[in-house]
């Protein structure tokens, strides 16, 4: 990976308060193109709050968000997606009852003519949907297949391919593997790897799973109680460090003693 580049997206001292509750207390991180940046931390640490600030859902109380060297403010998710931040939430924002293609282009359909009554370019959209999903590793036979009949891994791929096709430079994945079976988790990891290999996209991956993080992450940031408690590249960190930091800094060794 190339660390001499400028980060695609960077946060500096992000603070987010919900009333008197400090959800984030000065979080800084840098995410580079072609890198998988794992965001790790216990439940309630503030990971989701951080990515919601990055995707325009929440406005930070203070601190800066810098996209490609320019300071940026997001007033809505639309602002964020316009500068190329694509977020794939846990529910994936898919309509299970309609086809792959209709979901792929939902809200951004290709059509003949202007206005919402424009006739859909169905064949063209089928072609693009198949091609884009194939690029990150999933071959769809039938683009008319309802999304509900796809496997969880295929749905993740659909949501990711869609975000990339519509211009995401920063791809944010909130626990993409948590609801999946073993085999599908691997499928999703392979997909993420393929996106990483495209080289120009920065990926922020939130996960609880240390093994998954170790398989694909290039860089780590650990968050606990709203603060960064450690960070580094995969080379810098040993397995024990990762485990200790994921648990919020407590020694796993201590736990072993307590359980004994």
């Amino acid at each position: 990976m190339v660390t001499n580049l400028i980060p695609l997206i960077e946060t500096q001292d992000i603070v987010k308060k919900f009333g008197s509750f400090i959800a984030l207390n000065g979080v800084s991180l840098k995410v580079y193109p072609g890198e998988v940046h794992a965001l790790l931390g216990d439940n309630g640490a503030g990971k989701s709050t951080l990515i919601k600030a990055l995707s325009g859902v929440h406005q930070p109380t203070s601190g800066k968000i810098i996209v490609e060297g320019k300071e940026t403010k997001f007033n809505s998710p639309r602002d964020a997606s316009e500068v190329g931040i694509g977020t794939v939430y846990q529910d994936l924002a898919l309509n299970s009852l309609t086809s792959v293609t209709r979901n792929f282009f939902l809200g951004r359909e290709l059509k003949f003519g202007k206005g919402p009554f424009g006739i859909l370019k169905m064949n063209k959209m089928h072609g693009i949907a198949i091609e884009e999903m194939a690029k990150i590793g999933i071959k769809i036979e039938d683009p008319e297949q309802p999304v509900g009949t796809m496997s969880g891994g295929q749905r993740q791929t659909l949501a990711i391919a869609r975000a990339i096709y519509f211009g995401a430079k920063v791809l944010i994945l909130d626990e993409p593997t948590s609801a999946l079976g073993q085999k599908q988790q691997m499928e999703v990891l392979k997909t993420i790897k393929k996106v990483q290999q495209l080289g120009n996209i920065a990926i922020i991956l939130i996960t609880h799973n240390e093994i998954h993080a170790r398989l694909i992450a290039d860089r780590y940031t650990f968050i606990s109680l709203g603060e960064v408690i450690g960070s580094g590249t995969s080379k810098d960190l040993a397995g024990d460090d990762i485990r200790r930091l994921m648990a919020g800094g407590a020694e796993v060794g201590d736990l072993a003693k307590e359980l004994a």
């Binding site: 924002a93 309509n95 299970s96 009852l97 209709r102 939902l106 006739i119």
Partner: protein, 528 residues
């Protein structure tokens, strides 16, 4: 391990389906089956008891008038089912459709009957405060298109208000449109009563009558505009002079057709007379057979065979007949009224009478003049809805708004606009229904459209629309309307069965369809 290309992939688990299987697994296939069953019932049970034909299309249910009447019921329901169905696909409901029909019909009829005014009330202080009215605008002779337009302004606004309240408040559409149901019905009755409180109407009636037969206003050359019936009963002298001015080929055609009609009428009369004369003999024959009197049987049989009656002589065609037939053939001079309330396919139905000789009633006259216009309106509306729902961007928005609201919003679909537009569309469909009715029968009644909202929802459900939204097709809604309308007729024609059994049958079909729809939905959602 084998070579990697022999590994099974996730996609291998989706069997590729043959085209027959994929047709059979379409959501409309169940409803289409029921529809064919009803067609069969309607045809089979309407075969007269004595005939032994196995052709189900030979029966009374399929005569020209039966088709005309059935298709009216079906298409009227079909029009509002489209509004209701699209709204359900987007995840909402409209219970105000029936009341909206009554309201729109009354509104249009009142405007056509008494004109349209905008009146501003204000408080006047001389000799004690009282309310005065200032008439800002009064149009006394409102054209059909303007009456429709004004009515649409009211109904579409009401649809918009309902939709706006629902998306803004987050209240269930059930409760808001239930309010609309009572509000509109009450408003209709109140306004009809107050407008009827006049010397020319029975006090307090909730109907509007005596609207001129607008669709039958014609422009009679030399006489100007008048109602067709009035023209046909002009003094004989006038009628004769009209014929004088007709080109000879027109006269020839009309005469040919009238001669045919008079011939058929005479034949029908002759047959009736024969039947009348033979009937007592047949009775006698039955008695004779019962008493086994061979001699009597033989004589009566001979009498029946030799029964003769002088055939009725056809009326000859007079110039007055020609004039009246010509007046019947003049096109309307109010095309809008005719578009909604008139007939369509008249040339075909004429042709089916002469020379095809099928569209004939028991008296030898033409049975049905054509189909009701609402059939055409339904066909046009269905086509538009089909294209919008399955071929346009809006269609995808409708499906996603009902299928997964938050997903649609996250992808930038203007879900509130989609919903409000569909509430407006539902009001539009109800107004179309009312327009067809008003221009067809030239009256209106506050009770019109009662319970139609439930019939529309039922038709949509029978046609495969899932009540929770996101799933269904226009073809399904069309088939649903067919089933609902046919069921009524099919049960009516079963001899010895109470016609109301159709409701029992429909109740069963509704629940069965809902179960089937839910099963299909779960299968697609991956829960089965």
């Amino acid at each position: 391990m084998n070579s990697s290309n022999s590994l099974r992939k996730e996609s291998d688990r989706h069997k590729s389906k043959s085209s027959l299987i994929s047709i059979l697994s379409r959501p409309e296939i169940g409803p289409i089956g029921v529809m064919i069953l009803l067609f069969g019932m309607l045809g089979y049970f309407s075969i007269p008891a004595s005939e032994t034909t196995w052709n189900p299309f030979a029966g009374e249910g399929f005569n020209a008038l039966g088709i005309r009447n059935n298709l009216r019921v079906i298409s009227q329901l079909g029009i509002i089912a489209l509004g209701a169905g699209l709204l359900i696909i987007a995840g909402e409901f409209d219970l105000s459709i029936g009341s909206m029909i009554g309201f729109a019909g009354a509104c249009m009829a009142m405007i056509l009957r008494w004109g349209f005014s905008i009146i501003i009330p204000y408080v006047y202080f001389d000799d004690g405060a009282h309310i005065e009215f200032y008439t800002l605008l009064h149009i006394s002779d409102v054209s059909p298109i303007l009456a429709i337009f004004i009515t649409l302004c009211f109904t579409l606004t009401f649809g918009w208000i309902q939709g706006f309240i629902i998306v803004r408040s987050g209240l269930p559409s059930f409760i808001v449109t239930l309010g609309g149901l009572f509000f509109l019905r009450g408003l209709t009755e109140v306004s009809l009563r107050s407008f009827n409180h006049r010397p020319d109407q029975a006090k307090g009636a909730t109907t509007v009558t005596e609207i001129p037969d607008i669709k039958n206003i014609i422009n009679l050359p030399g006489y100007g505009e008048m109602e067709r019936e009035a023209a046909k009963y002009l003094p004989d002298g006038d009628l004769l002079s009209i014929v004088k001015n007709l080109p000879s080929d027109v006269i020839y055609k009309i005469t040919e057709r009238l001669e045919y009609t008079f011939q058929r009428v005479a034949e029908a009369k002759t047959n009736l007379l024969i039947a009348k004369g033979v009937k007592p003999l047949e009775k006698a024959l039955e008695n004779a057979v019962a008493s086994d009197n061979e001699y009597m049987i033989k004589t009566i049989q001979e009498k029946i065979e030799n029964f003769k009656i002088d055939p009725v002589i056809p009326k000859s065609v007079t110039e007055i007949d020609i004039a009246r037939a010509y007046i019947d053939s003049i096109g309307t001079s109010r095309p809008i009224a005719d578009f909604f309330g008139g007939n369509i396919l008249e040339p075909i139905f004429d042709w089916l009478y002469f020379p095809i000789d099928w569209n004939v009633n028991n008296f030898g006259n033409q049975f049905a003049p054509g189909l009701y216009s609402c059939v055409m309106i339904w066909v046009i509306l269905s086509l538009v809805c089909y294209i919008v729902l399955s071929k346009t961007q809006v269609g995808n928005w409708i499906y996603s708004t009902g299928g997964n609201l938050s997903a649609a919003q996250a992808n930038g679909v203007p879900t509130n606009k989609v919903k409000i537009s569909l509430f407006i569309f539902s009001a539009f469909c109800a107004t179309l229904f009312a327009t067809c009715q008003v221009f067809e029968v030239n009256t209106s009644d506050a009770a019109k459209g009662n319970l139609k909202e439930l019939e529309a929802i039922a038709a949509a459900v029978i046609g495969g629309i899932v009540m929770t939204g996101g799933f269904g097709t226009v073809l399904g809604i069309i088939v649903g309307a067919f089933i609902f309308g046919l069921a009524k007729e099919a049960f009516f024609y079963i001899p010895g069965v109470d016609g109301s059994f159709y409701r029992v049958f429909l109740g069963f079909v509704i629940i069965a369809s809902a179960l089937l729809n839910e099963n299909i939905r779960k299968r697609i959602m991956g829960n089965i």
